[in-house]
Symmetry: C2
Subunit: 346 residues, 2 copies
């Protein structure tokens, strides 16, 4: 792989933004790895080992382990497999009664940062999603859905981002596997650009841009890593990072929280496949994943197609990325798909 160095600018059909594919300095895949392999810190010091003992409030939602849940059993929190708690150090303040108003002062504009910041913790201490069973990951997905649904009923909020940081280099300050939800009173820039681009495309073609991307990728095949009955895993033509992957529902669906119960195990299956390929193929390199879904607010969002983006931490952002938003990708998505494909299967 990577025998023909390539220098190519690719334009995202949704956002209109460019990425620069430049493989001249590409490393071989086995050169990617967590630079300092993080050791699992002792359980005793972990704030998520027993969240309530560590001073967190009662869970907003919790599930016992699928294997511990037998019919007729009394479920007790002690047997939790997953719990959603409020972040003890929330980036947003949930102490608000009225919606914040934009205050202007000269050219400055600001408002109170109201919203919610929650953590989805799973047990045990050091098993990441790549090693979980379909039943376990199904519960994670269900927790995301239920919390998005609940938060959408809170006043003043416009968007909720679900995200997962794996590894210190991807911003995970706590080792114990966890995802986060951050519910905001604004639609953030990247989501706005993605929604607007999708809307523009829809108005022009009367088709969903993401459906067109899926159709095109299925025909081309070279960037598809995995597929089951309801979901597809691919390396996007316009990848923003080496080995980026994206999960789409095959059938058009605007809201992540609308996933049918019968589709949950299928999404779990494809998410595990993706994260397993990073674990095996890229030496457990750090990564982030996040979900782009429809904002809460009124407005027509039916054109939007939710998706889950996975970004392995393969590079350090430098002046180019920070100064332009243009990202330099050193491995082509075609090579990435070819390489990772063999690590996807069980």
């Amino acid at each position: 792989m990577m025998e023909h160095p390539k220098t190519e600018l690719r334009q995202d059909p949704v956002s209109g933004e460019w990425v620069l594919l430049s493989t001249v300095r590409a490393r071989r895949p086995n050169q990617f790895a967590r630079s300092k392999k993080e050791k699992s810190p002792p359980r005793a010091a972990c704030p998520f080992e027993d969240p309530q003992k560590s001073g967190n409030g009662s869970p907003l939602l919790w599930f016992v382990h699928p294997q511990k849940r037998k019919k007729g059993d009394v479920v007790v929190l002690r047997d939790w497999f997953l719990q959603v708690i409020r972040n003890k150090y929330p980036a947003l303040s949930h102490h608000y009664k009225t919606c914040p108003t934009l205050i202007r002062d000269g050219v400055g504009a600001y408002m109170q940062g109201v919203g919610f910041h929650e953590v989805v913790v799973t047990s045990p201490h050091s098993r990441s999603i790549a090693h979980m069973s379909v039943e376990e990951v199904e519960l994670i997905i269900r927790a995301y859905q239920e919390r998005i649904h609940d938060l959408s009923a809170e006043k003043c909020l416009e968007y909720v981002l679900v995200f997962h940081n794996h590894g210190r280099e991807a911003g995970a300050s706590i080792y114990h596997p966890h995802s986060q939800l951050i519910a905001l009173p604004i639609v953030p820039a990247d989501v706005h650009v993605s929604i607007q681009g999708s809307r523009r495309y829809y108005h022009r073609k009367r088709r969903c841009v993401h459906c067109d991307i899926i159709r095109w990728e299925r025909r081309k095949k070279e960037r598809v890593l995995y597929k089951n009955k309801s979901f597809i895993l691919l390396a996007p033509h316009v990848s923003k990072a080496a080995f980026e992957m994206r999960i789409y529902p095959l059938k058009h669906q605007s809201r992540f929280e609308s996933i049918a119960t019968k589709d949950r195990p299928l999404l779990a299956d494809v998410l595990i496949a993706a994260l397993r390929s990073i674990y095996r193929g890229l030496n457990d390199i750090a990564y982030n994943y996040f979900i782009h879904t429809t904002p809460f607010g009124r407005g027509h969002f039916d054109h939007y197609h939710w998706h889950l983006e996975i970004l392995p931490k393969t590079a350090t952002f430098g002046g180019v990325e920070l100064g332009t938003g243009l990202e330099i990708v050193t491995v082509s998505p075609e090579d990435a798909a070819q390489y990772l494909r063999r690590f996807v299967s069980k």
Copy 2:
């Protein structure tokens, strides 16, 4: 400082984008430092110690050290203080005769990544800009100007980004101090958004948004770190990173390359002041700086006001930043300015 935790969303008057100021997890300034203090690698192994010996071509531009340049002296490359060379591993390909055309394939759109990638190397090996003299930094600025000017005459190009990565954590793969220029056949997203925002403001108010920002900040004073006759250094109200700084020319000026010779030492003075405050106040933490200036192409850009942005590497991007473009800043620009101000002076 940092006694009152704050949670505030601030909207950029130029781009319309939001940052989230959330000081609840702020660290004290003395907790910021390069996580693993990089040691200066041996000179013998450094590819920039003698660029030509390391296989680089003749410099595109070079200056001898100001102190070595006496009137009447013959200048020889051996005495170089600064040289601009082509990047040996360029992210863009300068082998092109005709301008690239956008190729469409389904929903995909791409073109050849043509352009130039240059490196501005200074000597000696381990003296960063924070420790240079005004005369030395003047030459760096002059090199930026001359190269931007020259590259603007190349065909097919639309933008040149000047940037500087200091420290491995900021993406500097080579220790030896150097800046880079990357000349592109497109206007990248962040620059486009900045230009468009500035234009919209101008059409509405018939004033430059950056001039208004400067006027406002000079009145407020709390975010101003330093000022000389021609330039101002401030911590922007909408900072994207803790301890972000920005340099503006006080008088409206669209193009960086138009800086008058007499203003060059003044810009050098303020740039040194800024980087010295990082060196002293933040334990030589890694940083990036870059210049936002006017694109090459035709069109009216007189409304634009060039500026130089300095982003200390105080945080790791996680899922929030990657998934939303919304950045979480843990130190308010007001606190940052108050703290760094004392490290600015000589």
